[in-house]
Symmetry: C2
Subunit: 340 residues, 2 copies
């Protein structure tokens, strides 16, 4: 069925659209009181992720309430390592925690490649969202980049330095590559199922890109991202590698059309180094703590710099949970007004 | 008294030395069993910081045991906010925690500028170290950059996003500048006392530089760093702004001679953009998890790139606590061999 609003799909194919499409990372829930109401009734975050009807409901909320140009499925990048064999808990105020982590070659026995119905609850949620959206806007599917998933599997949770994961790369590089292969195959199978279920566009989040040295990033992250995006031929793909300012030139060679920028990345430089790509981003999420005037001014400044380049407006990182929805609306309105 | 080894001082004044000096951030303690032995007898980290004889002892350990070209006083950047009025606790495995934080203009009443003997224990430790060193190598004093101190005062501890501190900059920019002024004056007074007590060189750590957008960094961090370094006329000053890859051009204009690089920063680019500066760094600290061959190869690769430019060898961040001292020695030896 023809989408009523396909701005983001056209931009994600390299088109300079008549109006710049806009959505927010982490828009699915998190900031909305309507989301919190649902979340409060549940045992935890994972119950929400694993219950298709509820995941679908919070996915649709920002479309209805914020009027963004795309929905993004409510889920978590860590469903992939879990489906591969390492379960995790989401600890309140602390973040993810893996009781078992990856340390030696023996631990590989615990892992398997996602090939079947391990993550049916995600595909089911996508189907419900698609039906409910009724072609209003496109739906974005997503997964973590293999390096980012690998670091959680080794580290067992968040970290300031990810020194365990980086130690693994130094001490057991062959094994790291083996694991990255398993994650890559799993992620590709998972994303293909998301597309089959109805995802119109896919985004890959390399959240811990910035912790690697440039040469490590070239060895342990980019080739696996490339494997994935090269094989996703039917939908546009966006790669968002937070902190990988040093890899812009390399990223221009990825077989995907869109590259996300974080708020530290210089737009002019990105336009030069990523000349062939659609760019997504990159307002500082902290700007949404400002008043109407500040948000409008900062949005306009950002939008001006992207003129003449294919662009999808977004923040430079996920929206912060204590952001007021009204401030998000001001940002979205400012993007839409800029073009009209 | 004439220093027996003044390599680091000459490099820090812009000289290309006959052998590149080497030291490690966080070398004072942390990785050495000899340090842990002392630490284990105490109630906590702060007791060590506040007891001059013990702080001096762990400051000297890496000079004796690792044969580095400089000592750095064992202390903590958070003694400054504490002396200004906000006490902190160092929680085991969790890091610093400030029970009271800075939120509104009323909280300014709790703060005062460091002008006197608030931090005598640091100056005393410096005096003991200087006497014990007996001019073998120079002693480095240090402080946090005002922005980094400010973020701890507002955030109350570590954070993945520092969104509270960044919210403060957006919502109360005037007040932020007022607080940054207080911190700047305090830091300057503190560093002058360190120099008077015997510090031969001073380093300013802007640990959270990378969390700001380039324009915010120019407004809320760099001018305060400049105020400090401009007023420290008698000793060489190093500024290490982690993650501030976007500010290299600006940093070339700072009134200090040395700029530290983190391990993500491109050395060739740094040599171009920081053409007038001595560069310090920047081996990935995770490399020290490798074997002898890996460490030597990576060190050589790094050293080669700095040839022809004034250079102080170091890691690109503090040494990780679980690094084996032998691996640190291999790094230090590799730097020293490279030049001979």
């Amino acid at each position: 069925m023809q989408l009523k609003n396909d701005l983001i799909l056209r931009a994600a194919k390299g088109e300079i659209t008549e109006r710049t499409p806009v959505w927010l990372m982490r828009q699915a829930g998190r900031i909305l009181p309507e989301y919190r109401k649902i979340r409060a009734k549940l045992s935890g975050f994972k119950e929400l992720v694993e219950t298709p009807e509820l995941a679908a409901e919070v996915t649709l909320q920002p479309v209805d309430l914020l009027d963004v140009d795309a929905a993004i499925i409510f889920s978590d990048i860590l469903v992939v390592p879990e489906a591969m064999g390492l379960t995790y808990q989401m600890l309140e105020k602390k973040g993810p925690y893996f009781p078992k982590t990856l340390k030696t070659i023996q631990d590989l026995d615990q892992l398997h490649i996602i090939e079947g119905d391990e993550l049916t609850y995600v595909y089911d949620a996508i189907k419900i969202v698609k039906a409910e959206l009724n072609s209003r806007v496109p739906l974005i599917g997503f997964a973590g980049a293999p390096w980012t998933i690998f670091s959680y599997m080794v580290e067992g949770g968040g970290s300031k330095t990810f020194s365990e994961a980086r130690k693994f790369l130094i001490q057991q590089p062959q094994l790291a590559h083996q694991v990255l292969e398993l994650i890559t195959k799993s992620t590709l199978n998972y994303l293909k199922r998301q597309v089959a279920a109805g995802a119109d566009l896919v985004q890959i989040f390399d959240s811990w890109a910035g912790i690697l040295s440039p040469s490590q990033y070239r060895e342990f992250s980019l080739p696996y991202i490339e494997q994935i995006v090269r094989s996703l031929e039917t939908v546009p793909v966006t790669v968002f590698a937070k902190g990988a300012y040093f890899a812009m030139k390399d990223m221009n060679n990825l077989s995907c059309q869109t590259i996300g920028l974080d708020w530290n990345m210089d737009i002019q430089k990105a336009k030069r180094l990523l000349a062939d790509k659609t760019l997504q981003g990159n307002l500082d999420p902290a700007i949404l703590y400002g008043d109407k005037n500040q948000i409008e001014k900062a949005t306009d400044q950002m939008m001006k710099q992207f003129i003449g380049h294919p662009h999808i407006a977004n923040l430079g990182h996920g929206v912060y949970p204590d952001t007021h929805p009204d401030q998000v609306k001001i940002f979205i309105e400012a993007v839409k007004k800029f073009n009209s």
